[in-house]
Amino acid sequence: MKLNRNVDIVILFFIMLFASTRPSFAYIDPGSGSVIITTVLGVIAAAGYTMRKYFYRIRRFFGGRSREDTEDKS
């Protein structure tokens, strides 16, 4: 939950960056923003993904449950 809040704060920053609302127009590809959106969301998700990967490795090293065990129960 705390991680989610931190992600929300980062996202809020990007929202401020793009804050301006106008109607859309026929010659603009509605998907043209997807690259920006997936880049921002992807960078945040990659940070979480990498952190989780190392966390599971460290935990396994100290004899904890494997990643698969944890993900099955999530």
């Binding site: 989610n4 929300d8 793009f18 301006s20 106008r22 043209s32 920006i36 990498t50």
Partner: protein
């Protein structure tokens, strides 16, 4: 003779055709252009793809011999080759699915995408129309969506995924608004801008709203304002590591998994314990319906007004595929949640307003078709339904019987007379008293359109169930 499937034209690299066989079966063939055929040939050797077919999550697919007449016919039409898919008995659409059906389809899409990513492949689309329910099990059918992943490519179908899976699910889970209307009205799903308008500032704290709704809506609006009129469109590209794509897919999976829309206590979702029959009448009605299902020899049956599927199960003992339709979401949801645990389920539960069933629509009115065209029945079962159609939905009985007669199939229909306590309840606060709604009129209307094969009287004459055949 090839017949093009109406909704398969959007991907220019191929098309799906059906071929009727002399024995009445339908074969499903996908024709592909040269690059797509080469890709598909290589896909067939991939371990993740074979595993997906084996565990039933991907439609079983084979490559017919190049010497077959169908291959030659495809070449004559300008295609490079064909692949054959196992036939999906009943085609259904996301605006007919319950919340959990769409959620399970979303999770299947994400699982398959992640498995493909790990093998260096990707799915170029993310639409629920690429997933079908075989019984109550979701199966991915659009094998031409699989392409090798170009190095450092982003998740290209992200926008389509959120528009067609995530937003409809969020709408129901966070706002309690059924997604079926918006999904039926727009075959491309909901846009971020549109979705953002459903939410108030308070909803921003809900998981995924800021990231996948508010932020994309702002980006889209910002681009629209900068690139409007004669301003040149900017070329945008970005390099995405595997961790960025897999991380995003996994976080999407966690989000979708958390979305929930619990079943409310509705009248119909409690039907099994709340119906108005005494035990003897209930038994007699079950026996009668099962006997009719057995006699009908139908391959496909519709159970209209199925509630939680009591009679659908009886029909499924004798009919190969049962399409169970009801206008109460939670009753159908209950049926789906139970059926999905059954191995080899033959029941496809669908949520539809029976007074306004899915029409032919989309491009040229052929892209998505009505249930009548998609899954023509050999038997239609309408139990304890007619009084709702006549009194609540204002559909005259003769109009409904005309529509049933057009199906040219066997029918089991129950008439609930004016004296029955359920009809009395429906009429209590109605100014219009539907004088035409009587057993006598109904029997006359039925005999004008059908041959009555059998009938049974229940509840001391308050109800009558008819087994009908079309007039020759």
């Amino acid at each position: 003779m090839f017949e093009s499937v109406g909704g398969s034209f959007r991907d220019p690299s191929g098309r799906v055709y059906t071929v009727e066989q002399p024995d009445g079966r339908t074969r499903v063939l996908r024709v592909l252009d040269a690059p797509a055929f080469a890709t598909h040939t290589s896909l067939m050797d991939q371990e993740f793809f074979r595993r997906g077919m084996e565990d039933g999550r991907i439609v079983r697919t084979s490559m017919p011999s190049p010497d077959l007449p169908e291959t030659q016919e495809a070449r004559d039409l300008g295609w490079a080759g064909i692949v054959e898919h196992e036939t999906v008995p009943v085609i259904s659409y996301p605006y007919e699915w319950t919340f959990s059906m769409l959620k399970d389809a979303a999770l299947l899409q994400l699982d398959l995408f992640e498995a493909a990513m790990e093998a260096g492949w990707t799915l170029k689309d993310a639409t629920p129309y690429n997933i079908q329910f075989v019984g109550s099990r979701p199966v991915f059918i659009d094998t031409a969506s699989y392409v090798p992943r170009v190095s450092r490519e982003p998740w290209l179908a992200y926008r389509q995924f959120v528009s067609m899976f995530l937003y409809p699910l969020m709408l129901k889970a966070y706002r309690g608004i059924p997604f079926h209307g918006p999904m039926r009205a727009s075959l491309d799903g909901l846009s971020a801008t549109e979705m953002n308008r459903y939410f108030s500032a308070r909803d921003n704290i809900r998981p995924g709203v800021l990231s996948h709704v508010v932020f994309p809506a702002k980006v889209e609006a910002s681009i629209a304002s900068r690139e409007k009129d004669r301003a040149e469109a900017k070329k945008r590209s970005s390099s995405h590591s595997d961790a960025m794509v897999i991380g995003l897919v996994q976080s999407m999976k966690r989000l979708v998994n958390r979305l929930a829309s619990p079943i409310q206590h509705t009248e119909w979702s409690q039907y099994e314990t709340a119906h108005s029959y005494e035990k003897d009448d209930d038994e007699a009605k079950r026996r009668f319906v099962e006997k009719c299902a057995e006699d009908s020899g139908a391959a496909t049956a519709w159970d209209l007004g199925c509630n939680t599927g009591t009679y659908s199960h009886l029909c499924a003992r004798h009919v190969e595929h049962v399409v169970s339709v009801d206008g109460d979401h939670d009753a159908v949801e209950r049926l789906y949640l139970r059926e999905k645990e059954e191995k080899g389920s033959q029941i496809v539960p669908l949520f539809m307003d029976l007074a306004n069933m899915s029409p032919n629509h989309g491009f040229a009115g052929r892209e998505r078709t009505s249930l009548e065209e998609r899954a023509p029945p050999g038997l239609v079962v309408c139990l304890a339904l007619i009084h709702h159609l006549r009194i609540s939905a204002n559909i005259p009985c003769d109009r409904f019987l005309d529509w049933l007669a057009e199906r040219r199939c066997k029918v089991v229909i129950e008439f609930v007379d004016r004296t029955d306590e359920m009809v009395v309840k429906l009429l209590t606060n109605k100014k219009e008293q539907y004088a035409d709604y009587t057993m006598e009129t109904f029997v006359r209307q039925v005999s004008e359109r059908f041959v009555v094969l059998d009938r049974i009287t229940l509840k001391d004459g308050d109800r009558e169930v008819f087994y009908l055949a079309p007039k020759p």
